[in-house]
């Protein structure tokens, strides 16, 4: 667990001729074609998972992103069996040291603190590293009076870190609360999937909560709910559109509109037109 990461960048994806399959319709696609289309499947329109660094490259003003704590990694806090093997495999697959990328950047005229969860890393489940980096980012933003923009994509708490991972929910939520009490803006965008302990903490604590289309956003997993209750749930259960209708999401924003949306939102909170 102690190798420097070789990050996979936006450029790598844009040049990759690797054949991959759409997450939904399983259509075979060339990686670079999907990348040039914002990772939206040209056949079925499914929002395939957007790697964290690609998202930042597309949102931040060019060259403005400064990464914080890029090489933080777990120490297997409860010595959970098989965790270290899985962790190393996730690092290889994602090119990331753990499940979130954090830093500062400019979006339009406004400097922001930003975190983007990396779904390719163990479903961006939250253990010590994810919890600590996001907490530290909120603390930094509170100190420097910066708004926070966050993108969630996570299966929830990372069970291999046991209760240490559950505590991260309280820790991040506390840091969000102090940032909020300082009168600062936190906008969170829920992307596919945002579930479990992430929904039950910082994904639902934004002043403004937005979502990408057709993402899964919920607490208990759909299959678990069906198993426990014997109910058959509608197709759109826990979709972004469902959460929008139920009043938990302010707006559904398409990928191609995301930067403009954030530019406007940040400007309206900056006091300067």
């Amino acid at each position: 667990m102690s190798r420097k990461m070789k990050h996979i960048t936006w450029k790598d994806y844009r040049h990759s001729t690797k054949i991959i399959k759409c997450e939904k319709c399983k259509q075979e696609l060339v990686q670079k074609d999907l990348a040039k289309n914002n990772f939206v499947c040209p056949k079925c329109g499914k929002y395939n998972k957007l790697p964290a660094r690609v998202r930042i490259a597309e949102l931040a003003n060019k060259g403005s992103f400064k990464e914080f704590w890029p090489d933080v990694t777990t120490v297997n806090p409860i010595n959970f069996p098989t965790y270290e093997e899985k962790y190393a495999a996730a690092q290889d697959k994602s090119g990331e040291s753990d499940g979130v990328v954090t830093g500062t950047c400019r979006i339009g005229k406004v400097k922001v603190a930003i975190f983007v969860m990396e779904p390719k890393f163990m479903m961006a489940s939250m253990g010590s590293v994810v919890g600590d980096k996001i907490t530290a980012l909120f603390e930094y933003a509170t100190k420097k009076k910066l708004p926070v923009i966050g993108f969630t994509a996570s299966g929830g708490a990372r069970m291999q870190e046991g209760m240490v991972s559950l505590m991260q929910m309280a820790k991040v939520s506390g840091a969000v609360q102090y940032h909020s009490q300082a009168g600062l803006l936190y906008t969170v965008c829920c992307t596919d999937p945002t579930t479990g302990g992430i929904t039950a903490s910082f994904a639902m604590l934004g002043d403004i909560i937005i979502a990408e289309p057709e993402a899964t956003i919920g607490f208990a997993g759909r299959r678990v709910v069906e198993q426990v209750t014997g109910e058959t749930l509608p197709d759109d259960f826990q979709s972004s559109e469902f959460q929008f209708e139920k009043g938990f999401v302010d707006a559904i924003v398409k990928r191609e509109d995301m930067r403009d949306y954030l530019v406007n939102l940040l400007k309206l909170h900056s006091g300067r037109r």
Partner: protein, 267 residues
């Protein structure tokens, strides 16, 4: 005793439930109802009463004791309106400067389409954030099961205590075994690996205190004696926490959660 045998002990039908704790420890308890938006959740009991000579706010997750009451209580799995009722009562506690005591006993928050539609995740999230800055002392006691986010939703406290044979876990051992080993029967292994018992969590700095249990909760006298001893413990510690300045109390509460987590820099 195997790890899973201890899980069974935490779920044992003879363990006193939250209501019993309130009956014995709190005098003149007055229960209040409803979240003022949707409904009253019967899984969460909330109200005020005397802890010795101090007015306190008490919130407990109640599982019920027989089939009828278990059903009425939603088997101790709280709905979003339950967490919202709890938050409403906690803000009242802050307003009237009453310390808060929470009794937690749940396999997890309610699981169902209603709970999802009304934002069970959001209701827990909001409690985590708000409890961090509520300006009165909070003590949470895990008396049986501490099931994940459903338990944490009442456990952002200055001190978290656990009964000797309770557990507090990010995931039920059965579910962990299903996901990890594709075999729910490996629940003993999962229970062992999850470090979910009081002594594990004391060592990790996640809880502050382990409460010794009587030999057997079917012994009514021993149970009564145990509850009265716990009451003395609460009186002493509420007094101690109440003597702190608010700034000091909140800083310590934040720091307690802040320090949980282990990681290192690569290189």
């Amino acid at each position: 005793m195997s790890a899973y045998d201890r899980i069974k002990l935490a779920r044992d039908i003879n363990r006193p439930t939250a209501k019993k704790y309130i009956d014995v420890i709190i005098d003149d308890f007055m229960e209040f109802h409803g979240d003022r938006a949707f409904a009253d959740d019967h899984a969460i009991i909330g109200g005020i009463g005397w802890l010795d000579n101090t007015a306190v706010t008490v919130i407990g997750i109640e599982k019920g004791t027989d089939m009828e009451s278990k059903q009425f209580r939603g088997f101790g799995s709280a709905l979003p309106e339950g967490y919202r009722k709890a938050q409403r009562l906690m803000f009242q506690a802050e307003k009237f400067k009453r310390p808060i005591i929470c009794f937690v006993d749940t396999q997890g928050a309610a699981c169902g389409s209603g709970a999802e539609q009304r934002g069970v995740g959001q209701s827990i999230a909001d409690n985590l954030a708000k409890m961090m800055t509520i300006k009165v002392p909070i003590i949470t006691i895990i008396i049986g099961e501490g099931g994940s986010g459903g338990a944490l939703g009442l456990a952002v406290a200055d001190e978290v205590w656990m009964l000797e044979n309770s557990y507090y876990s990010v995931i039920a051992p059965e579910s962990c075994a299903s996901i990890l080993y594709k075999d729910p029967e490996r629940k003993d292994e999962a229970a062992e690996s999850l470090h979910l018992f009081a002594e594990n969590l004391l060592e990790l700095g996640i809880i502050e205190k382990i409460i010794a249990e009587p030999e057997n909760f079917t012994d009514a006298d021993a149970t009564e004696e145990f509850l009265l001893k716990l009451k003395e413990d609460l009186i002493r510690n509420i007094k101690r926490l109440s003597s702190k300045r608010v700034g000091q109390l909140l800083a310590a509460r934040y720091e307690k959660f802040r320090k949980v987590g282990r990681y290192k820099e690569i290189g």
